[in-house]
């Protein structure tokens, strides 16, 4: 498995797209900036939803209302961060797959995804019971706590990638 990942990473690094991004002196910093803009939008708006789920903020608004307003922003930001992140990954794939901060970051992204799927697939079914509750039930607050923790740690790990060389 490890061998395979290495080989794929080496192949990605040899493509002309990878060489194009790596060879340009202004492209990488601009990709980083776009990545920051995207992830800032994700963490900021997801954070607002998470704080509502935890019962810490926007308690006089329904969970549905807060989610409906914030999630389109979060998904837009995620798409921006994903595409810019992918471009950065391609430029130096062998470095990233070996970077522990990057590996852990990907693991937490998967965890945040699973948390979201469980929340929207299962917990959300009973939303009529807690939609307007200032302090939602434990399962809901747990989902908010897991999500917020994941995204905060993801930001730290993302910054750490560049410091492990």
């Amino acid at each position: 498995m490890r061998e395979l990942i290495q080989q794929v990473a080496e192949w990605i690094g040899s493509t002309s797209l990878a060489e194009g991004i790596a060879g340009s002196s202004y492209l990488f910093p601009n990709l980083e900036t776009i990545h920051v803009l995207g992830l800032a939008l994700v963490i900021g708006t997801i954070g607002m939803v998470d704080l509502r789920l935890l019962g810490f903020a926007s308690t006089h608004r329904t969970v549905r209302d807060v989610s409906a307003q914030m999630l389109p922003f979060a998904w837009t930001g995620f798409a921006v961060a994903l595409l810019s992140g992918l471009a950065m990954f391609i430029s130096n794939a062998t470095f990233y797959v070996d970077n522990p901060a990057f590996q852990l970051k990907m693991l937490l992204l998967v965890l945040a995804g699973i948390n979201m799927l469980v929340f929207h697939g299962r917990t959300w079914r009973s939303i009529d019971e807690w939609d307007s509750a200032p302090k939602p039930p434990t399962a809901v607050r747990l989902a908010g706590a897991v999500s917020l923790t994941c995204w905060v740690v993801i930001v730290f790990l993302g910054r750490w990638i560049g410091f492990i060389l």
């Binding site: 900036t33 800032a40 939008l41 900021g44 954070g47 905060v152």
Partner: protein
Amino acid sequence: MSYQQFISWLDATALSTQFKMTAWVVPAFQSIHILAIGVVVAVAAVLSLRLLGLSARHVSIASLTERLLPPTWWALAVLLLSGAVLIIAEPTRALTNRFFFIKMICLVLLVPLARRFHRAVQSQPQRWNEVSIVSPAMRPVVVVAMLLVTAIIFCGRWIAYA
């Protein structure tokens, strides 16, 4: 004391030396800085699109502003403090950097703009509760604020490359 002397003095302080010797200080405070940027970017995006009438028209501008702007001022405090730590840790890198200066100019323009907007809403909450879309005259101001936020983030990242 000249500007160069000030940078040399800051560089030689015990605090700066301590920060330089502790490897996690810069990445940790950069991460905190980015988290606070997340608050600012999200609030700027949500509020701007609401003001332009492009999202959540049923939500009152006055209540949205009152909910979103106070935490943003706290985020600004976190940004200034974490930014100060980063300057102290690497004085020359920041204080002789043209992107740093452009960033500061944008910041000095953005903060009073946001303050004036916040005050305007606070002084006439009734009026801002009733409108579903702000006056066309307000739109350029919203666009300028969004551009300033974007420019600040671009300059912030480019400090590392200049």
